[in-house]
Structure formats: structure tokens, C-alpha cells
Symmetry: C2
Subunit: 218 residues, 2 copies
Amino acid sequence: MPKPTFLNLPPDKRRRFVDAALNEFALHDYRAASVGRIVDAVGIAKGSVYQYFDGKLDLYRYLVDLAAETKFRHIDAARAGDAPDFFSQVRQAAFHGARFDFGEPRHASLLYHATYEPSTPETLEVSSRLRAASHAYLRGLVDAGIARGDLRPDLDRDMTVYVIYQQIVALRDFLTDRFGFSFQDAVHAGAGLPIREEELGAVLDELIAVLRHGLAPG
Amino acid sequence: MPKPTFLNLPPDKRRRFVDAALNEFALHDYRAASVGRIVDAVGIAKGSVYQYFDGKLDLYRYLVDLAAETKFRHIDAARAGDAPDFFSQVRQAAFHGARFDFGEPRHASLLYHATYEPSTPETLEVSSRLRAASHAYLRGLVDAGIARGDLRPDLDRDMTVYVIYQQIVALRDFLTDRFGFSFQDAVHAGAGLPIREEELGAVLDELIAVLRHGLAPG
DNA sequence: GGCGATTATGACCGAGCGGTCATGTGACTG
DNA sequence: CAGTCACATGACCGCTCGGTCATAATCGCC
């Protein structure tokens, strides 16, 4: 948890600090991220960081929570009421999730790193909470989907959640490959990534079709 | 590439060194892995490592190649001639791949880390080669599967490879959750992980069924 | 203006890292 | 026995890291 000093910061200074920290943790995983580089980028003294947070881990936790909350809120806000069935819902969530990722590459890369963070004792709790939140969200969709008859009733629900989750997370890698994007470059440039909504939609249509009907013909 | 000195090593000593190095890179990702801990575990001087390899990266490359080769050979060797269609082939490869992972948790964890290694300039080439090899293998299966009529002919082949690849890689996480395994503990204990082949088979049947027919009813 | 509380600072610390290299050791050769 | 060569060694180097703390600057209030 941030210390009171951090919360009392002038909004502009706080924003600049969060920006720089986001940048650092987007470019490097937890262990490789450097407090020194953050303070250099912001132009403050190293000691200040420890007036704001208990330490590097505390700062990391704050940023991951912030990014996750922001992204979830974005997805929720964009959710129209017109997604009646399971596959439309997944498509919609994936679509707006990907749009968020391309628009906010720093948040996206931070969350990406947090997802694949090697499970050290320090960072395990952060990664677990992040994964658990995504799984819980999908689990709700899957349960409702089965109840509604959108999904086969005999599905292994945990496995279904895993399958969907993996595909959504891997979407970043796939789009990166297909369109030649580089999140690293985008973070460095401080800019968003260009993505044509029709192209993203086409990819998602294909992916959802595979999830719905499988790979076999007929 | 290992230096000649390494290749001239007495087999027992070489084996002990490789074991310790495998352990270290299975427990930590590239950056966090420590040459000092390896030499402590083996009981040799730090300088010796630099008589064997050009540096940490060279050692890492050697280990990843070794583990990948070993695993691929294992999968290939276990491949019976009786997998006539695409889905049987994927099932068989995933089955023997998982068996290998559980039997050799150090190799498995090393490859897992290498797969998700944050793409620093140093390690990028190693991770890319590893991913490329898996993708090429699956791409061959997919192409043949489409030609044979096992798969819908209008599939996006790259995406199909991605979907399959992600599911196979994620299998480790799913099995870990479901059966309460810990690869970290197994590496520490230096032992393999127990897995009942019927349980693994059941999970794979379910997963392949989803890939084949999708999540929708009917 | 003055005073107590809050915040900013950066030199400093101990630890760990990858990597080096002068020196030592031992085994084989002629 | 002397000489050569491959190999082993660990003290040492330069660097970066997270984190600390005495001190200084700044702010808010009366």
C-alpha cells in the first residue's frame, strides 16, 4: 500500500512518477526493474521512493493493481448490453481488452510481465491474484454459458476457463507476429499501437469460430 | 558453444556440472540464475565455468538446446506409427511431452522459463529458436492435417498453430493446478513428478475433444 | 515572521553479480 | 629429470542493486 505521503503528492508529480514507474515495469520484469532508473527518469531522489512506498515490491503491487483495475474497468465500460450469448461475450471482452492493450502498451506490458512472472516467493501473491481475477471473470461467463445452453453441459469447466484464458493472453503474441508490432518499441516511444478495428475483429471472429466449432470439418 | 575443455571433461564431472546448471536455470530465469550458485553446488571454482563456456549466455544456450533436443527426441521416439489423423498425432505428442515434463522436471522448467523469458536482446535469439522449432513442428502437422481433410480447409494456419501451441504449453499450468503439483518442489527434491497415465490421458481426451469439436453443443 | 511537521535529498552501505587473470597443479612426453 | 601443456583455482575487479538515514529544504498554520 502506498504511504500517505504518496497520496498527498501534487497530482502532476504523482502522475509523472506513476508514468515512469509504469514504463520501467513494462520494459523489465520485477527483478530486472530498477528503482534507480525510475528516479532518474522522474528527476527525484532515490530516497523519495521510500517515502512513497515500503519498497520495490510495494510499488510493484500498486502498479499491477492499478493496471488491472484500469483494464477491467475499460472492458466493463465498453460492454454493451447486446452480447446475449457466451461467444459474443468472450469476443466482446477480448476485443475491448485488446483495444486497451494497444492503446495503453505500458499497462499491457506490465500485466503481461506480471502474468508470466517466474514464481518467486516475493511476486507469487501478485501474479496469483491477477490470474485468479481473470479466471474468476471467465468462470462466471462459462457457468452462465453452460446454464444458458451456449456450451456443452458436460464440459470440464476449469479446463474450459484455461482454454479461453490462454487464447486471450496469447492473442498479444499472435497479433504481434501477424502485424509486426512491438510493444517494447511502443513503450519506448510512449505511444499507442495502431490497429485497425476490422483487422482485429477478423482475427477474433476466426478465433471465436475455432473455439465454438472446433478445428474439424463439418 | 562449449569450449573444448568442457568436452574433454571426465564424463562424471561433466554430468555433475550439467546437472547443477540445469537445476539453477530450472529454478531461476536467465537473469536471476547465478553462476556462483552453480559452482557452489558442484564444488568447483568460478573460473572453471569460463574455461568451459564463453559466459553465462553461452552456458544457457547450451542447456536450452540440450533440453529441447532431449525432449524432442523423447517425443519422436515414443511416436508409434499408429496415429493416422491430426488429432491423434497432437494427442500423442502432448501425451509424451507431458510425460517427459513430469519425469524430467528440471528440463521441463528450464524450457518453460526459456519460453516465457522476457525478450531482452541477450536471450531473444534463444527463446525465438525454441518457439520457432515448436511452431515448425506443429505447422507440419497442421498442413498435413488440412491436406488429409482432418481439419477445415479454410483455417488460418498460423492461428491454428498458435491455438494448439498455447494449449500444449498451458497444459503444465492446468495439470499443476488440478493435481496440486509443484515443479519447483520437484526440482528441489531432484525427483520426478507422479502422474497417472490414465488421468493425463483423460485430461488430454477432453482437451482434444474441445479442439476438435469446439465448446458449443451439437 | 516564526515554528513544528512534513517531505526531499543523495551520499552511503552491504550484498550479489558476471567476469578476469596470475598462479598453482598435475599429467604426459622425450 | 626437465619441459610443456591443459586445466583448476579463488582473490579480485567494476558495477548495479535495494535500501537507509542524517540533514536540509519546504510547507502550513497561528
